[in-house]
Symmetry: C2
Subunit: 145 residues, 2 copies
DNA sequence: ATTCTTGCAAAGCATTTGCACCCTG
DNA sequence: CAGGGTGCAAATGCTTTGCAAGAAT
């Protein structure tokens, strides 16, 4: 997932946010670290090139990005919150053995769920979004998850 | 969800756990507070009758109960972890406006999902469980969520 | 110039841990 | 009486906050 500096600037500008080196760094990290990084992973990544950006600033920036719909934040069974810059409707595969997470996207599944809940209304509840948490085991050849 | 003291004792005994007043209190709280309580809510409930049970003990007990499959632990987008003593396969409805959570159980949905993933294997992944996170708005008459 | 953003360090909150004492089986 | 369980308080880990100084528009 490559992203150009110009794209990042436009993303910030379109939300009416000031363009600062710190915010650019956070967005760069977010797009470079595809694996639903924690704040700590983002901070580590940033500090490789910019050791002077403060931890608190990264948290504040992430918060602002979430509030502006640039990224999303979610929790796993682990301690730290995860950030995700993929905004399309997708689900998550969770490793039962580690903290590894992958995306799962399937239009047919989304249609299936949409149909199901169209014919099976939940009493007194208005659905806004549906996400699957699929827990299991990654069978990669490297077994590195 | 009423539960008798005897049932609780048997539950502990069947897992080879020592029966202590503290553990009984935690289990009573868990069954009395149906709404996926946080540790804090459990502690508050217990302290109404047993102000002398330590916070750390409740956390340790909850941990042991989770490890022994008596209850489950999960996280929402909120801060604190939630505990759930309903063990059947069910999904969760999350309020977009508050911390309120309700269970959603539907055999047909479970079958539908089972069928889907039987014919749509995920490469290099072995599914162990599937849970829906359904986010939306509770439309109760009292609007109390 | 004005308003927003940053850095820093301290505080906050949920949870865990260490250890001496105590209780259950 | 032996092995676990408990209470307490301190420690941990993630995240938030307050505020003075700095930067973006």
């Amino acid at each position: 997932m490559e992203i150009h500096a110009e794209t990042i600037r436009e993303k910030l500008k379109s939300k009416g946010l000031k363009i600062t080196p710190q915010r650019i760094s956070v967005l760069e990290a977010l797009y470079a670290l595809q694996d639903h990084p924690t704040a700590e992973q983002i901070i580590d990544f940033i500090h490789q090139k910019n050791p002077n950006i403060a931890t608190g600033t990264v948290y504040k920036t992430l918060d602002i990005l979430v509030k502006n719909g640039v990224t999303t934040k979610f929790r796993t069974d682990g301690e730290a919150a995860r950030y995700d810059c993929i905004l399309s409707h997708h689900h998550h595969l969770f490793s039962a053995e580690s903290d590894h997470i992958e995306d799962y996207e399937n239009e047919e599944l989304n249609r299936l769920l949409g149909n199901f809940f169209e014919t099976h209304h939940i009493p007194n509840f208005e659905i806004q979004s549906i996400k699957l948490q699929i827990k299991g085991r990654f069978l990669s050849n490297t077994n590195s998850d």
